[in-house]
């Protein structure tokens, strides 16, 4: 049968290579978007999982989220001797920097070295090589240094650059620098959980690591009473906290029972979770973004599907006579279906094969461009865009082939239903009423199903164990597919409405083009629908961006009004609490002569209501006073800030909406040693975090959550804040390796971060636009083919090639015009839906709908321009028509 396929399908595809190429390109772009978004999602998921549960090797995790758990709980668990528990592993993990190695970032792992890394049972498959002998000289070298084990790349770099054999290795965590001494290096295979943290890993004794990331006594206290005494006293007040305690159990033991016993043992001092339960909170945060990405790629595939359907439908129409011949010499209906399905499989396969590498380039390109900012948000700083997994490649291949096959299905069945007697005699075929009714019913059902999914999302999806956002996004996609399918009907109505006017005002070439649109809404409608879909999603994104931009910019201007901002690392790292400052930095800053006041900000992301919320700790009274002086009357509810303290907090409007908490009510957050009850005294307008923000006074936060660190210092200068006036501040920051930014630069940095998100979204939509443009080329090529006789006749009766060219280009322009109109008609309601339903559901942020007229005009002009350009190739084909051939053509 292969030879038959080769004869009937493949050869035809080669002969119509231009159309085949367009179909392949449509599929390839759809597949490329799919692969690129899978790579993005894969990266985000892996990074978020590593950040939430780095080195997750335990069967049960004991945590208090970001605040950590007292190390003593590990000993308590061991002492409780709960049957089934075989190992208890406390762990501290955080990001540090290596100033001597070009400021390279590394992951610091605090472990009980004897238990975890050096024992025979080595859970992380780490191979340790000692390089420091136990000699007196080395003992002297180790004095006042922290002993560490480093990964081989760090070890090699350290050995290569150290000034002398006695030199140590400096580690920087936020604003503090530690002198450490590597005693050896570790190597680990790709399969090791450590490998997921990247190539730069440092192992340190647990207590020392915990004290590095959750610092000991203030430097001043240490200087007065001596380091070790201060540390011992500090330990009594603030016990050592670790990031997490992993509990390993016997494989035959009942995990749920042990989990319950552990929770009972620990009460509310820590949360006992399975790794899967723990990851759900990070998954909740990235889920919306991932679904958004996935839907965008699905959108590209759906647009591609309709265009392939369109091209194959016309192929069937064009080959109708061939089908008649085949049927008359004995081809069965199944064989006819096979002819078209085989062609679709071939085109889909080639499209997928081309789309996969393109998707890899796109995905990795985006990650390389935004890698630094993305990497700053996660514990593993090494942005490894990775390669698509086998499942992604298989999925992409199947998606390409199945899209083509799905697109070919209806045309193939229509071909098989051809009556051989009429087809072979070239009697015009008629699309049966049954097809029309099925088409209308399918459109209606899809749109109705989409709306139903949206309406019942809050009841249906939780009952199925899924997040309601699956309903919002899935329903939207289903309704859009229905609308796209209904495009020929909608376009038919639109064109008929304006046709009488067009006939009156347009020149003959454009009138012929308009007539042609009316004559074949099935062919042009799908393409206009695809163009409309591209325009609609772009207008929606532009509209959502515009609706956000103004209020977010106003908010940024309100909250960023200090003269200088001091932090370690970059702004993303500071906002992600990856590079905290020691509290004494604030005191030193305040002591500078040009500084009038300093407000410290600390960010934490504790769990609340099965997600991670933001907690912003600030020097509330000082901030309120300074805001009153600098921007009087601009920050609402400012009078509430001085009342913070004593467990009283403010919440953001979106927190109140998302979690249903009102002023006067209280909420409970897991603290380092148990639940912390907070009293809500008011709400404020804030866009810091999509899951809601709690504002707490910093001293209250330090007391309740045992955390004195600061992520960013807002510095208010005495004078006007010119560069000359803040020279002392600049040299202070430079001495300590800190970053200093002015007000405008800071606002710009944050605005750029927001813009980056929209850039990625626009990139995906541009791909959808390109796929739609390819559809215009296909549709017009087909139009030229179908109208060959008519165009030949026009030439025969004296039409000039220029007139023929204008006719085809007019059709392209009209398709672009109707596509744009359709896109605006769908795009604005879509913007409303995303803004007032999806965004509110995801983040609780409520924005007013602003229609992006300016962007819509640009997008519309772009769409028509693309349609015109797409019309050039078919127009050229039309001009080259040989009159005798065209007139003889049936």
């Amino acid at each position: 049968m292969l030879s038959l396929d080769r004869l009937l399908s493949w050869r035809y595809l080669f002969q119509r290579w231009d159309r085949s190429l367009l179909i392949i390109a449509s599929i390839a772009l759809g597949v490329a978007t799919l692969v690129a978004t899978r790579i993005l999602n894969q990266f985000i998921e892996t990074s978020a999982t590593q950040t939430a549960t780095p080195l997750a090797g335990g069967d049960i995790l004991v945590t208090n989220g970001e605040f950590g758990v007292p190390r003593s709980i590990a000993d308590e668990i061991i002492a409780a001797q709960i049957p089934g528990i075989v190992r208890v592993l406390p762990l501290a993990v955080d990001r540090v920097y290596l100033p001597e190695l070009q400021g390279k970032a590394a992951v610091l792992i605090g472990v009980e070295l004897s238990r975890q890394l050096l024992e025979a049972e080595n859970p992380w498959q780490v191979q340790f090589t000692r390089t420091l002998e136990l000699t007196l000289a080395n003992a002297i070298r180790a004095a006042n240094r922290r002993l560490i084990v480093v990964s081989k790349p760090i070890y090699d770099a350290w050995v290569a650059q150290r000034p002398s054999d006695t030199a140590g290795l400096l580690i920087r965590y936020g604003s503090q620098t530690l002198d450490c001494l590597p005693i050896g290096y570790m190597e680990y295979p790709e399969s090791s959980p450590v490998a997921l943290l990247g190539r730069n890993v440092i192992g340190m004794e647990l207590s020392q690591a915990a004290r590095t990331t959750r610092p000991g006594p203030p430097a001043a206290a240490a200087a007065v009473v001596g380091g070790s005494v201060a540390e011992s006293a500090w330990d009594l007040v603030f016990p050592i906290r670790v990031s997490r305690i992993d509990v390993r159990i016997d494989p035959s033991a009942n995990r749920a029972a042990i989990q319950a016993a552990l929770q009972q043992q620990l009460g509310d001092r820590a949360q006992v979770r399975t790794p899967e339960e723990y990851r759900q909170t990070s998954q909740e945060i990235i889920g919306g973004l991932q679904i958004g990405f996935a839907l965008c790629s699905a959108g590209a595939m759906v647009v591609g599907l309709f265009l392939v359907y369109n091209a194959l439908s016309v192929t069937v129409a064009e080959r109708r006579h061939d089908i008649g011949i085949l049927r008359s010499i004995g081809a069965t209906r199944l064989q006819i279906v096979r002819v078209f399905t085989t062609a679709a499989v071939l085109l889909g396969g080639v499209g997928a094969a081309s789309g996969i590498p393109l998707g890899i380039v796109l995905g990795r390109g985006v990650l390389h461009k935004y890698g630094q900012d993305l990497g700053s948000m996660f514990v593993n700083p090494e942005v490894d865009p990775g390669w698509p997994t086998v499942s992604t490649v298989v999925l992409a291949g199947l998606a390409g082939i199945l899209t083509a096959v799905a697109a070919a299905f209806i045309p193939a069945v229509q071909a098989a239903c051809e009556d051989p007697a009429t087809a072979v005699r070239r009697i015009p075929g008629t699309v049966g009423g049954a097809w029309h009714r099925a088409h209308q019913a399918t459109c209606f059902l899809l749109i109705a199903a989409g709306i139903t999914l949206i309406v019942v999302r809050n009841e249906l999806f939780p009952a199925l164990g899924m997040h309601p956002r699956n309903g919002s996004f899935g329903g939207l996609l289903t309704a859009l597919v229905g609308l796209l399918l209904a495009a020929p009907i909608v376009v038919g109505i639109m064109v008929r409405m304006v046709h009488p006017v067009l006939r009156r005002i347009l020149p003959i070439e454009a009138r012929i083009a308009a007539d042609n649109l009316i004559r074949s809404p099935g062919r042009t409608g799908v393409v206009i629908g695809a163009l409309g879909a591209g325009v609609a999603v772009m207008i929606q994104t532009a509209g959502v961006g515009r609706s956000n931009q103004e209020p977010v910019e106003q908010w940024l201007n309100r909250v960023i009004h200090a003269d200088r901002f001091v932090f370690a690392g970059n702004i993303t790292e500071a906002n992600s609490s990856q590079t905290p400052l020691a509290p004494e930095i604030l005191r030193e800053l305040r002591a500078l002569p040009e500084v009038a006041a300093v407000v410290g900000f600390r960010y934490a992301r504790p769990e609340y209501n099965s997600t991670r919320i933001m907690m912003v700790a600030l020097d509330a009274a000082t901030y309120a006073e300074l805001s009153n002086q600098r921007i009087p009357g601009q920050i609402a509810q400012l009078e509430l800030l001085p009342r913070l303290g004593g467990g009283r907090v403010l919440i953001s409007d979106n927190f109140a909406l998302k979690h249903g908490v009102r002023p006067g009510e209280s909420l409970v957050i897991a603290g380092t040693e148990g639940p912390v009850q907070l009293q809500v005294i008011g709400t404020v307008n804030d866009y810091t975090w999509a899951r809601g923000t709690i504002f707490i006074d910093r001293s209250d936060y330090a007391r309740l959550f045992r955390d004195e660190l600061v992520d960013i210092a807002h510095v208010f200068l005495r004078g006007a804040g010119s560069a000359e006036e803040s020279e002392g501040l600049a040299s202070f920051a430079a001495d300590r390796g800190l970053t200093i930014q002015g007000k405008e630069a800071m606002r710009r940095l944050l605005a750029d971060l927001i813009d980056q998100f929209y850039t990625v979204a626009f990139l995906q939509q541009i791909v959808v636009g390109i796929v739609a443009s390819l559809g215009v080329v296909t549709a017009l090529l087909i139009s030229v083919l179908q109208r060959k006789r008519e165009l030949g006749l026009l030439l025969a009766v004296g039409a000039t090639p220029g007139q023929i060219l204008r006719t085809v280009l007019s059709e392209a322009l009209l398709m672009g015009l109707f596509g744009t109109l359709l896109g605006i008609l769908i795009g604005i309601p879509l913007e409303w839906y995303v803004l007032r339903v999806v965004l509110v559901e995801e983040s609780g942020f409520v924005f007013d709908l602003l229609i992006p007229w300016k962007q819509a005009a640009i997008i519309g002009a772009g769409s028509m321009m693309i349609a015109m350009l797409a019309g050039l190739l078919p127009a050229w084909h039309a001009v080259r028509t040989r009159i005798p051939d065209a007139i003889a053509y049936e």
Binding site: M1, L7, I325, L326, S328, I329, T332
Partner: protein
């Protein structure tokens, strides 16, 4: 071989239903070369489609080798056309993307024969119609007569019991028409193969052994053609 019993065919695609065949009954037996004549729109092509299982009657019976076409499934009718019936059309109806040999081999390839066997039999058929030298040529590289002879070869390749021709000389000049008609006249095999040819050309009709005249969907006359008249072209033709 072929039997039509009170066959009617009504087309209802148009606004007003058209009755193309109105109660036709006839029998064609092995070895006959039946020509069907009639003016345009008389229903002759429809009649041939009914005989060749390309279409089914609205009422009445169309029987091929004892099988009522109404009782056969679409697939069974396809198999019948593939293995027992060969068609020759006025417009040749060759697939433009296939060579002459591939066009001829097509019914066999559709039937699952190996390419080698199909091409060997196709070449033999092309030899029979005198076109083996054109085996690798595409339809656009051949003359009208060559294309029609290729179509005849395709009709013969499966060894059919009936060869049905719809205006096979309609697109050909006189000399080429003669060649094709002679070829068709050589095809009937007594007791086995029949040839049915629809034509509006009286000269072409004389190549048959029996002439059926049809008008307005009804048989006007059905008479044998005497041996003396067979294949005699008027001088003016």
């Amino acid at each position: 071989m072929i039997e039509l019993v009170d066959v009617r065919k009504i087309y209802d695609h148009a606004r007003k239903p058209v009755e193309a065949v109105r109660g036709v009954s006839l029998t064609v037996t092995g070895g006959e070369f039946v020509t069907i004549m009639g003016p345009s729109g008389s229903g002759k092509s429809t009649l041939m489609h009914l005989m060749g299982a390309l279409d089914t009657p609205t009422s009445g019976q169309a029987i091929f080798q004892g099988h009522d076409l109404h009782d056969l499934s679409d697939t069974e009718r396809s198999l019948l056309r593939r293995n027992r019936i060969g068609f020759v059309f006025q417009a040749f109806n060759l697939l433009p993307t296939l060579t002459a040999a591939e066009n001829v081999a097509l019914p066999l390839l559709l039937g699952g024969h190996s390419r080698r066997e199909a091409m060997a039999r196709a070449t033999a058929c092309l030899e029979r119609v005198g076109l083996v030298h054109r085996a690798d040529h595409f339809p656009e590289e051949m003359s009208g007569g060559e294309m029609q002879r290729t179509a005849v070869a395709r009709a013969l390749v499966a060894g059919p019991d009936a060869v049905l021709c719809d205006e096979p000389t309609g697109n050909l000049d006189t000399a080429t028409s003669r060649e094709v008609l002679k070829l068709l006249a050589s095809l009937p095999e007594p007791g086995r193969r029949v040839v049915v040819m629809v034509t509006h050309d009286p000269a072409a009709a004389r190549y048959g052994t029996r002439l059926i005249r049809i008008r307005d969907g009804r048989i006007e006359s059905d008479e044998p053609i005497s041996a003396s008249q067979q294949g005699v072209y008027p001088a003016s033709y």
